[in-house]
Amino acid sequence: MSSRWTWRLLALPGVVWLSVFFLAAFYAVLAVAFGNQDSFSAPVPFWNPLDWNVGYALAVLRDIWSGGQYLTVFIRTFVFVAIAMVISLAIGYPVAYFAARHAGKRRGLVLLALILPFWINYLMRMLAWINLLSPDGWGTRVLHTVGIDRVFIWLGLLTSEGGWLDGQPSTVIIALVYGYVPFLILPLYASLDRIDQRQIEAARDLGASPRGAFFRVTLPLSVPGILAGSVLVALPMFGDYYTPDLVSASPKTNLIGNQIDQLTRQGSEKVTGAVLTIILALALLVLMVYYLRSTRSADDLAEA
């Protein structure tokens, strides 16, 4: 047996597993989305692409085109994610910068604190906030004492004192930030940590002001980290349904993930759910491919 074949044989079981449970699963989504449904609205997949029925997909596209409910949900999802991303970067960049440059002797401890939320169950982190933000929770009381609830009401971001969990878009967005910002900070930290300090010193020696050195050296060099981290956070945010369910549970904050979840897992319109899943996956494909390419080039650099 030549050693070339040894390696291929070793890869075989994993390849078969992913083909059956990953690729074939995606094909099942296509077959359902372009299939039909029976009189109980259970999906009847069409496995042969030549038989595909585009009726359900067209109905969804027509809804989106004419400004129907799905368009509303897609736009809301985009707006929520965009705002959450901007807030996440505003929080994450300074934190990552501090950890990479200024944490000094406490760097290990700071890193540990930044990594910890990764391994605390997402739902437990949400549960913590549900306890804190319930009408008599400690968080609600603190926010009331400091007057933040009145500021939010004044800004139109909260409808009533103590009503943080009553379907407030602002609560959902802040919960998304809380949930995903740790996943942004670590790639940012890695890219800031990689920047050669001597480049900044060179900029200073050549007369750049500290501010100029930051905006013309550090910031541009950290752009790959900003992009990779943003994509890494945007992908799960676009597919989230549990965060709005937990901190709002109101149709007013339905995201595309909620719509898909209601149609597929909970509901009986799996065909339309499959169509929406495909639209979401296609919309995110650009981000996914971008992220894979950027990490692969980083891998190649590491191997070179």
Partner: protein, 285 residues
């Protein structure tokens, strides 16, 4: 922040403040949730004294309430099954992909990485439809959940093991080959012992990922006996739950952290290269 822009080598008070505030904001709420697991009363918002009643009490505690007990057992069972399947599959796939250069390896590599970036709901829907329409004989429930978890944790094993393979280099294998070892001896007697720390680390990561997984596990769940701890948190957090919910979440958290800490020390002790390499291996993805 302005002061820091003026002198980035000075002491960045504003940055330190932002970082400190962020760390407090990210960790203290969870700390309070853990604290209320030990509340003596039913409330999750008013402190009524310290007790273990929600862990061990005779009614409604994690160790006595059938639903809570079942969720904890099922979570651990799934994690064990997933580790047992995902680790060998991932290790062999990593070995194969690392040394197999040629036609097909690029597309296999892409297919292996895709689960890492696929939003979980997309994967959940895909697997749900697969088990409903293609494998109705497997159906929804424990088997489907385990298969789903293996599918998305496999890539983590590959990435961790491959990182170690890259750092080992090819010298040891080549030396073994020069001394006449056939390919299977190169793998079993040279590569696997060198990979052991990475294998342990990846097993721990898979175990932790499995315990924490929510979306895929929920989509593939069958009856109530296939409820896991995260599913229980989702289902009851907004209802009228008791601090027992905080208690079960605390137990799951302790198991996750203990597993990862163990892996960290194994990796650090046996793989050499200091703590940074171990953090990198565990944090890789």
């Amino acid at each position: 922040m302005i002061a820091w822009l003026r002198n980035p080598w000075g002491r960045p008070r504003a940055l330190a403040f932002v970082t400190g505030a962020y760390i407090i904001w990210s960790i203290v709420p969870v700390g309070i949730a853990i604290l209320f697991a030990f509340n003596a009363g039913r409330s999750r918002t008013t402190w009524q004294g310290f007790s273990f009643r929600w862990f061990t009490g005779s009614t409604g505690s994690v160790f006595h309430d059938p639903a809570l007990q079942s969720a904890l057992k099922h979570t651990l069972l799934l994690a064990a099954i997933t580790v047992v399947i995902a680790v060998p599959l991932g290790v062999t796939l990593a070995l194969g992909l690392q040394r197999w250069r040629g036609r097909g390896s690029g597309s296999v590599n892409t297919m292996m990485l895709l689960p890492l970036v696929t939003p979980e709901i997309v994967m959940g829907v895909a697997l749900l439809l697969l088990f409903l329409k293609v494998f109705p004989s497997i159906g929804l429930g424990t088997k489907a959940q385990a298969i789903g978890q293996v599918t998305f944790t496999l890539s983590y094993v590959v990435v961790i093991v491959r990182g170690r393979l890259v750092s080992i280099g090819r010298e040891y294998e080549e030396a073994a080959a020069d001394l006449g070892a056939p390919p299977h001896d190169q793998i079993l007697r040279v590569l696997l012992p060198l990979l052991a720390p990475a294998i342990v680390a990846s097993a721990a990561v898979v175990f932790a990922l499995s315990i924490d997984d929510f979306v895929v596990t929920q989509y593939l769940s069958g009856d109530a006996s296939t409820t896991t701890v995260p599913m229980l948190l989702y289902a009851t957090a907004r209802g009228a739950p008791s601090p027992a919910l905080n208690a079960i979440a605390t137990i799951a958290l302790l198991i996750t952290l203990a597993t990862l800490a163990l892996a960290f020390f194994v990796y650090k002790r046996f793989a050499g290269g200091g703590g940074d390499a171990a953090v990198a291996a565990i944090m890789e993805v």
